[in-house]
Amino acid sequence: MTTPDSSTRSVVVEKEFPHPPEKVWRALTESSLIEQWLMKNDFQPVAGHSFSLRMDPVPNWNGVIDCQVLVVEPLRTLSYTWGTLGMESIVLFTLTPTPAGTHVRMEQSGFRPDQEDNYKGAQYGWQKFMGGLERVVAGLE
């Protein structure tokens, strides 16, 4: 269910649910429903809206994930940034209707330090580095 992307590090989880896209979309975008499967939140399905996801604090972590809505295409696409522990990434949900229900694909990608200086970063891209990282670690065996 989890596959690494070939160009940069990413996490992909896919599943088909025996429920119509309308219902899955509600679970992904209504704050009280999001809390029941993901985390406490102040989400609103509005592009540009900043919100946080909150879990119980654990040692070394306050349990807060800072997010901002990027894309809201009802019944199809939902995307938001995901920032925590000094790292930022992007979460993208894609819904596809199937004869039996809805296929949901979640991809979390673009992991990079959120304190990165963007100007300097352009000279030596973090994404490029993460692409090479997999090869470096594979070479450790």
Binding site: V11, H19, R26, L38, D117, Y124, V137, G139, L140
Partner: protein, 107 residues
């Protein structure tokens, strides 16, 4: 585990340090002089960056004569890779909860 991940990320957040680290990974041991030729910054700056990489255990140094040689320690990247890998298990767990919720919503 989390603190070592923090160190690795902090060390690699700077593009000059990333470039130095990748150079050492690709080309093997180098002296500070050799690294300075390619880094585009002064030798004191290169030394400072190397200290940050050393704190994160991403490089090791050894003195040979009057020169200090640096080598990459790519196994120090492992916590960073693990950290991202944790999200795979995290989302699979959340998808199972989403499935339960969708069942309950029927009722």
């Amino acid at each position: 585990m989390r603190s070592s991940t923090d160190n690795v990320f902090k060390a690699l957040a700077d593009p000059t340090r990333r470039a130095i680290f990748e150079r050492l990974t690709r080309d093997g041991d180098q002296t500070v002089h050799a690294l300075t030729e390619h880094a585009g910054v002064s030798q004191p700056m290169v030394s400072k960056h190397l200290s940050a990489l050393k704190r994160a255990k991403l490089v090791r140094n050894r003195r040979q004569g009057r020169e200090t040689h640096y080598s990459a320690q790519p196994q120090a990247l492992a916590p960073l890779v693990d950290w991202i890998g944790h999200y795979g298990a995290f989302w699979q767990n959340k998808f199972a909860r989403l499935e339960d919720l969708l069942e309950r919503m029927d009722k």
